[in-house]
């Protein structure tokens, strides 16, 4: 098989001869061929560009047992070649098959070229880059609800933009809502906290911070290490139950929004209440590690009650 291909790829082969040679190719191998009056002078570059292309990566997962006819990009053979495949891409006549001989490594990995497109190294790199961008775009499409149905780059981007704006507006709205909901929680210490906070612990306090500046971030570290990561279910139950709390001095009203810096995970998980060693009081904490999405603990309930 490879022997058959080699002559096709060598620049020496005249187009007529390659055509007949192509006809002789058995359909059992899925091969992507560059359509080009003159083959690229540097097959290694083609190889590299193709490997880096998302296209090639995606297609390597395909089983070699699938046997569409070799996708000949010669005008006459186009339809016949395409018929074996279920997929059909409409865009610019770009062939839809994405099969590559992933397992049987051919010396030349072929990048699919659009009809009439140049395949010099420049455009190849361009194409590979564009494919990467397309892949990212698809990722975004999946992320944004309702986006996968939309076709057309501009419209998809529209949706993405709308979604981002929507989320940002949500944050604004919820901030206002939180501000309005309970005037008894005093957020005046926030500015103070932001200046005094270190980046290590990544904590954020919304609340009275007379004690904030006194709290040494480093001393707070052991507090965090005590704070285990609680079970999602556990936390859900705790929202309905009311845990008895030790006394909370009035000026210790603090709520922390902690998001773990070092944690590379992607979900939220609420924390538990921890003893603040420095202040000697129970500090209500709303700590969120990006681990599992759960309801925040209900400790603030307690302290609000005590305020009454």
């Amino acid at each position: 098989m490879e022997d058959e291909i080699h002559p096709l790829l060598h620049p020496a082969a005249p187009s007529g001869a390659s055509f007949t040679a192509l006809l002789g190719l058995p359909p059992s191998r899925a091969v992507e061929l560059l359509h080009e009056p003159t083959f690229p002078s540097d097959p290694a570059l083609v190889d590299r560009a193709a490997r880096f292309s998302v296209f090639a990566a995606a297609s390597s997962a395909q089983s070699t047992e699938v046997s569409p006819p070799p996708p000949l990009e010669l005008a006459k053979k186009r339809k016949d070649a395409g018929s074996g495949n279920g997929k059909a891409k409409i865009k610019k006549g770009k062939p839809a098959e994405e099969d590559t001989d992933g397992e049987n490594k051919l010396p030349y990995v072929h990048v699919r070229a659009r009809r009439g497109q140049a395949t010099d190294s420049h455009s190849l790199a361009e194409r590979a880059r564009r494919e990467k961008i397309n892949a990212r775009m698809k990722l975004l499409q999946e992320l944004v609800p309702g986006c996968s149905k939309i076709s057309g780059t501009a419209l998809v981007l529209d949706e993405i933009i709308n979604h981002v704006q929507y989320l940002q507006r949500q944050v604004e709205y919820l901030s206002m809502r939180l501000a309005a909901v309970n005037p008894r929680i005093d957020f005046s210490g926030l500015d103070n906290f932001i200046t005094s906070t270190t980046t290590e612990c990544g904590r954020l306090t919304i609340g009275n911070t007379k004690a904030n500046s006194e709290l040494d971030p480093q001393q707070q570290q052991p507090v965090w290490s005590e704070v285990g990561v609680s079970d999602a279910n556990q936390m859900n139950n705790s929202t309905s139950s009311k845990r008895p709390q030790s006394q909370l001095p009035q000026n210790q009203l603090q709520q922390f929004w902690h998001v773990d810096l070092l944690n590379a995970q992607n979900h939220l998980q609420p924390s538990i209440w921890a003893q603040d060693e420095v202040a000697g009081s129970t500090v209500p904490l709303l700590v969120f590690d990006r681990v599992n999405p759960v309801e925040p603990s209900i400790q603030s309930n307690q302290q609000l009650k005590m305020e009454l």
Partner: protein, 143 residues
């Protein structure tokens, strides 16, 4: 008891707005810190830092259109299509913190992560709001 409840002073609206702004900043800090490694998070932190020091000027900086728009070569081939897409990419660049300095590929990556982080942040805040709402109503009953 009623005194506590009527904590709301006559100019409580501005107070709430003010609080709201601070809460929003808090939320953004949390957001930025949750995804420390990301470009958008770093840019957001830089912006917040600036806001802290020069609240007014920082606002202006944030809202102005950036002087330099990087030319962003895109996927679409047709000229008109290209323009449309480019416009949107620029809009996206403005939305995502730090987006103006990113090229398309990176921009999309960062956008995806930004969207995820935003979603989580919204979830947290919403849960908190519901929680506090619940508390308020229960306390109201008891009073």
């Amino acid at each position: 008891m009623e005194n506590l409840l009527s904590n709301a002073s006559p100019h409580s609206e501005t107070l709430i707005e003010e609080r709201g702004k601070r809460i929003k900043i808090a939320a953004e800090v949390g957001l930025a810190r949750s995804s420390g490694g990301r470009l958008w998070a770093r840019a957001l932190r830089r912006r917040l830092h600036r806001q802290r020091k020069l609240p007014q000027q920082a606002c202006i900086v944030k809202n102005s259109t950036p002087p330099l728009m990087k030319e962003v070569p895109l996927v679409a081939d047709v000229a008109e299509e290209k323009d449309e897409v480019e416009d949107r990419v620029r809009a996206l660049q403005r939305l995502v913190p730090g987006g103006e300095e990113m090229e398309v590929e990176r921009l999309f990556e960062e956008t995806a992560d930004y969207i995820e982080a935003l979603r989580e942040q919204v979830g947290v805040m919403r849960a908190l709001a519901c929680l506090l709402d619940g508390i308020e109503s229960t306390d109201g009953d008891k009073l």
